[in-house]
């Protein structure tokens, strides 16, 4: 029984991680139609930003503040990653709207470069992020331990999705983002500053990747190539959910999280990976546009 509950929690936790890593992609890819292969590297940027914050706090600030560095690291990693996203948009991505396959290839190049830059700055080996002491351990309940870090990530992902949902669907900027990504020319003819909105949208997606990176420092490695571990999963979540909406992304993320944990418990991690991907492939045969999708009447 306790195994069941803790596996349930693990599924939720994995789902929330999936959601965080996919959320930014749901914007840059789902909405803006940029097949952003550098998404993983933006996650990496967020992770390194957290690492740097930790260094600053441990080296230059009073020791008692160290406990709170993580709360500063979250917005900082968002800002750093979105700034880099902003630069990328200004310099490269803006030439690639309406050319999805080209965006895939160019962002692939970007990811190579970002990895190499990280390697030059931080060195090839992994770096360690030390979590504040209060994050160690977990909440004892039903005879199981729910690690604080996982609870934190779970809440972080819920907060992110709520804010993002509100921003995209209830604010006028959100509406502008959706309009511009759908039909850039017409949006500009209506008086929307499309270039600004483009940059904003991409920076937002990148920033969310940064937050994902920040949260991953609690659980996993931080090195120049960590982006490659998450990129495929992130894409799978988005396409499984259906491009263009957040609802699908949420269900996709938790679906994959749950399925992985269930399968992994009985068949091992390797087979879990194979089975989960196979299930996704088969599921898409049935619903080619993902769980939630919108079909237009137009021919293409």
């Amino acid at each position: 029984m306790s195994i069941f509950i803790s596996q349930l929690f693990n599924g939720l936790s994995l789902g929330s991680i999936m959601l965080l890593i996919a959320l930014g992609l749901a914007i840059t890819f789902g909405l803006m139609n940029v097949i952003n292969m550098a998404h993983g590297e933006l996650i990496m940027v967020g992770a390194y930003a957290t690492y740097v914050m930790q260094l600053i706090f441990s080296k230059y600030l009073p020791e008692n503040l160290f406990n709170y560095y993580y709360f500063i690291a979250i917005p900082i990693s968002f800002l750093v990653a979105s700034f880099i996203g902003y630069l990328l948009e200004k310099g490269i991505i803006r030439f690639l709207y309406n050319r999805p396959t080209d965006s895939l290839l160019a962002t692939w190049g970007i990811s190579l470069i970002l990895q190499q830059i990280a390697r030059s700055i931080f060195g090839a080996p992994n770096v360690a992020v030390v979590a504040p002491a209060w994050m160690d351990g977990g909440w004892q309940i039903f005879g199981i331990t729910l690690p604080y870090k996982r609870l934190l990530i779970l809440s972080l992902s819920i907060v992110c999705i709520a804010l993002l949902y509100y921003y995209l669907n209830k604010t006028s900027t959100g509406l502008r983002i959706r309009a511009v990504t759908m039909n850039r020319n017409m949006a500009s003819c209506l008086g929307i500053f499309t270039r600004k909105i483009d940059s904003l949208g991409f920076a937002l997606g990148a920033g969310l990747a940064g937050i994902a990176g920040c949260s991953l420092t609690l659980l996993g490695p931080i090195g120049p190539t960590i982006g490659t571990y998450y990129i495929v999963d992130a894409f799978m979540v988005v396409i499984l959910g259906g491009i263009g909406g957040l609802k699908g992304t949420i269900i996709g993320a938790f679906g994959i999280g749950m399925l992985s944990t269930v399968v992994e418990y009985s068949f091992g991690a390797t087979m879990a990976k194979v089975i989960v991907f196979a299930v996704i492939i088969l599921f898409l045969q049935w619903k080619p546009l993902g769980i939630f999708s919108y079909r237009t009447r137009a021919l293409d």
């Binding site: 959706r178 020319n185 500009s188 009447r297």
Partner: protein, 233 residues
């Protein structure tokens, strides 16, 4: 308020328009006629800024806007109903209309404007929550016009706005065009394929052919037969 001189425009290597002069005054409806492929849409796109002119100048209220971005032009009061409607297909009708307000910089009573629009196009009110892309062809066309009107333009560019709209509403639209032009002092550029419906509501006409304006004049003083020749295939 709109003045175009010596305009040269086209796509990549192909020049479609050459040496086009055009003027639109406040409160006047100007229709543009021409055979298929004469360059009517090209001209409109150049005015809204989607196409960069190869040469020539565009003045808006005595200010040069030849190289301005479409969004700036929209903010300055140029509204546009494209050929092919260009509805945001996965946004709802309501959201499409709200986007129409983007061009408006001053404070306005949005509900009032919407009421006015719904009077014209009652279907839209019924379908506020439906996705734009699910509407029928004619409904989309109505939405496109409504969206442009929501932006309170000073100049309205209509690229074949009657296409696909049922006769009773076509009449209404023609009336509206006349009305907004005269009452609100809005300039209208109307691209039309049919001389009859164009002449039914416009003050002046231009005919495009062979890359340029081959005939222009005041509708009242013109005999349709005289210009029919330019439109025969």
């Amino acid at each position: 308020m709109l003045k175009i001189s010596s305009l040269k425009a086209g796509y990549d290597e192909t020049m479609v328009l050459n040496n086009v002069h055009l003027e639109v005054e406040k409160g006047k409806v100007v229709s543009i006629l021409g055979r298929n492929g004469a360059g009517k849409t090209t001209l409109i796109k150049t005015i809204v800024g989607l196409l960069k002119p190869m040469d020539g100048t565009i003045y808006w209220n005595d200010q040069e806007i030849t190289h301005e971005l479409p969004e700036r032009r929209a903010k300055k009061g140029i509204g546009y109903v494209p050929q092919g409607r260009e509805i945001f297909s996965s946004l709802t009708v309501e959201e499409n209309l709200i986007l129409g307000f983007e061009a408006v910089s001053k404070k306005i009573e949005k509900t009032l404007v919407l009421e006015e629009i719904f009077e014209l196009f009652p279907v839209l009110k019924e379908m506020l929550k439906r996705k734009g892309g699910d509407l029928s062809g004619g409904q989309q066309q109505q939405l496109a016009i409504a969206r442009a009107l929501a932006g309170q333009p000073e100049l309205l560019l209509l690229d074949e706005p009657m296409e696909g709209i049922q006769p009773s509403i076509v009449e209404q639209i023609q009336e509206v065009i006349v009305k907004i032009a005269s009452k609100k002092g809005i300039g209208v550029v109307l691209v039309e394929h049919s001389i009859d419906s164009a002449f039914a509501c416009s003050d002046e006409y231009y005919i495009l052919d062979k890359r340029t304006v081959v005939s222009k004049g005041v509708v009242k003083n013109t005999n349709i037969e005289d210009i029919q020749q330019y439109l025969v295939v």
